[in-house]
Symmetry: C2
Subunit: 284 residues, 2 copies
C-alpha cells in the first residue's frame, strides 16, 4: 500500500505494535534498483511488517547538487517494493515531512548533528551539511515508523557508520542491519546515479571497483603501506576520472589508518564524466 | 525502585509495553522540590507507569557554570519520587549515559541541535550550547524510556518551547505536558538553585515575581507598549540584582513581540547575590 501521510503510517504502526509484530524500515530516496531490492528482501525475511520510505530529502543536498535532477520513479518503486513483499510504501512530500512552507535551515528546524570527527572527511568534506540532513531525516523516519530494524546498504559506508553512531549516542531503540553492496556483472556498484551515465561512462566507472579489488589483492599479498596501496590506483584512472578521495579508515569509527589491516575500510569517490560515484571494500 | 543502568530501564519498559501500559517520564537533575513533585504527581495521575530520571547532565553546563556545585541529593530524591508513586528512578552516571571515558564534545558525540532562532536568545544567549545539551539528553531519555508522555515545568519556559519544537520537528512519538510553576508562599518560584541563596538573597529574589506580576497588572490595565512595561521593572531592582534579560516573546515560537498581547510570554533572568534565577508569566 502506498501512503503519503505520516498519520497513516502511525495508524498502521500502532495497530502492528498492538499485535506484537516486528517492524522493519528501509529508508530510500527511490529510483529503486537491485541494491534496494536486496535491502527490502532482507527486511521481509527479518520482520513481520516492512515499511519502505521513498523520499528525496532536500536537506541532505547542497545548493549545487543534483536535488532537482535526482531520478524520481515512484510508480516503478511501489511495484518493485510490493513485489518483494513490502507492506507499506511511505512517500511523503517535503511539506508533509518538514511542515508546510517551512524554511529548511538550522535557523528554523531541529537537526540531528553527527560528530564532527565522523563528518569532516570522505563524502562529508565535499558535501557540507549532507550527513546532518541524513541523520535528521533518518531519525524522523525511525520515529515515524518506530521500527525495530532499519536496513541500509554498505555502499554508503560512511553513512552507515554515522547512523550506527547516532543510534548508539542517542539510544535510539532500533537495530541497524548493513547489507552487502550489490554490483552489476561488470563489477559496477549499483547506484541510482548510474542513470546519469552513458555507455562510455559506465565503462569508465568500472575503475572504482577495479581500484578497490586491486588494493585488496595487494593487501592480501602483504602490502600494508597505505601510500604504496594508493599508488596502485593510478593505472586505472584516465582523463574521464576526477578522483575526489581514496582513503583507508577504521571500519568502526572512520579514524584514519596508519597501516592497512583487517579492520580497514577502503573508500573511493570519483567523478566519472561529471557524475559523482562512490564505492568501498573491506580488507579482510 | 532505583536503577543506575539503561538496560534495566529498557527491561522494565519492554515488559510494560508488552502489557499495553502507558509510560510517563519526568526528566530531572535531582535536588527535587515541590515543583518536581507536582510534575511527578501529574505523571502518576496520567500514566500507568512513571519513570523519574535524576541526572545532572554535564553537556548542558558551560565551563564556568555550576556543574560541580549543583546540589545532589539522590537519597532524598528517591524517597520523594517513590512517595508520590513513581515506579522507577533512573539515576545513571555520565559514563552510563555517554559511554565510558567518552569525550563530551560535538567532535565525538551525536547532538540534537535545536533551531538557532529558538536558541540564540533569552537563556541561550548567555548559556551557549546549553539547549543543545538539553535536547540531546532529553532525546536520549525519551529513547531509553520510550515514554508516551513527558512532563516538564513551565518555569523553564524556553526549554519547554524548544523541546516541543524538537518533538514536532523530529516526529518523536511522545506528548509533552507542561505543568504550572510552583511557588513558595512568598511568590518565589521553586528552583534547585534557591539552595544557594541565604535569607537576604531569598528576600531579594522576590523581585523577579514582583516584576512579572506588576507587568501583568499593567497589561491588564491596558498598557501594551513593551518599553513602558519594561520600565516598570526598575522600581523592584537594587544593588543585589544583576538583570540578565526581561523579554516579551510569543509563547509558541519565542519570536519577539512588538506589542504585548494575550499570547505574550514575559521572561526574566536575574542574578541575585550571584545566583542566576529565572521566572516567567503568560499575559492572558
Amino acid at each position: 500500500m502506498l501512503t503519503h501521510k505520516i498519520e497513516e503510517v502511525r495508524a498502521n504502526v500502532k495497530k502492528w505494535k498492538s499485535e506484537g509484530l516486528v517492524i522493519g524500515v528501509v529508508p530510500t530516496m527511490g529510483a529503486l534498483h537491485a541494491g534496494h531490492a536486496s535491502l527490502i528482501k532482507k527486511a521481509v525475511e527479518t520482520c513481520d511488517k516492512v515499511i519502505v520510505s521513498v523520499f528525496v530529502n532536500p536537506i541532505q543536498f547542497g545548493p549545487s547538487e543534483d536535488f532537482d535532477k535526482y531520478p524520481r520513479t515512484l510508480e516503478a518503486d511501489v511495484e518493485l517494493a510490493e513485489g518483494i513483499g513490502a507492506d507499506l510504501i511511505f512517500a511523503p512530500s517535503a511539506d508533509e515531512m518538514y511542515g508546510e512552507g517551512q524554511r529548511l535551515s538550522n535557523d528554523t528546524l531541529t537537526y540531528v548533528a553527527p560528530p564532527f570527527f565522523y563528518v569532516n572527511k570522505l563524502c562529508g568534506k565535499s558535501r557540507v551539511g549532507h550527513f546532518d540532513g541524513v541523520c535528521t531525516v533518518v531519525m524522523k523516519l525511525f520515529n515515524i515508523t518506530q521500527a525495530d530494524y532499519g536496513f541500509f546498504g554498505q555502499k554508503d559506508a560512511q553513512q552507515l557508520i554515522i547512523l550506527r553512531k547516532m543510534v548508539n549516542d542517542l539510544n535510539v531503540p532500533i537495530e541497524l542491519i548493513g547489507c552487502p553492496i550489490v554490483r552489476e556483472e561488470s563489477g559496477l556498484a549499483l547506484s541510482s546515479r548510474n542513470k546519469y551515465l552513458n555507455e562510455k561512462g559506465k565503462e569508465d566507472a568500472l575503475a572504482l571497483n577495479k581500484i578497490l579489488n586491486n588494493i585488496k589483492m595487494c593487501y592480501n599479498k602483504g602490502v600494508t603501506d597505505i601510500s604504496a596501496l594508493k599508488e596502485t590506483a593510478f593505472q586505472f584512472l584516465n582523463e574521464a576520472h576526477e578522483l575526489e578521495y581514496l582513503e583507508f579508515v577504521d571500519k568502526e569509527n572512520l579514524e584514519d589508518k596508519e597501516k592497512a589491516d583487517d579492520n580497514t575500510l577502503v573508500l573511493i569517490a570519483c567523478r566519472v564524466d561529471g557524475v559523482r560515484l562512490i564505492d568501498n571494500i573491506l580488507l579482510k
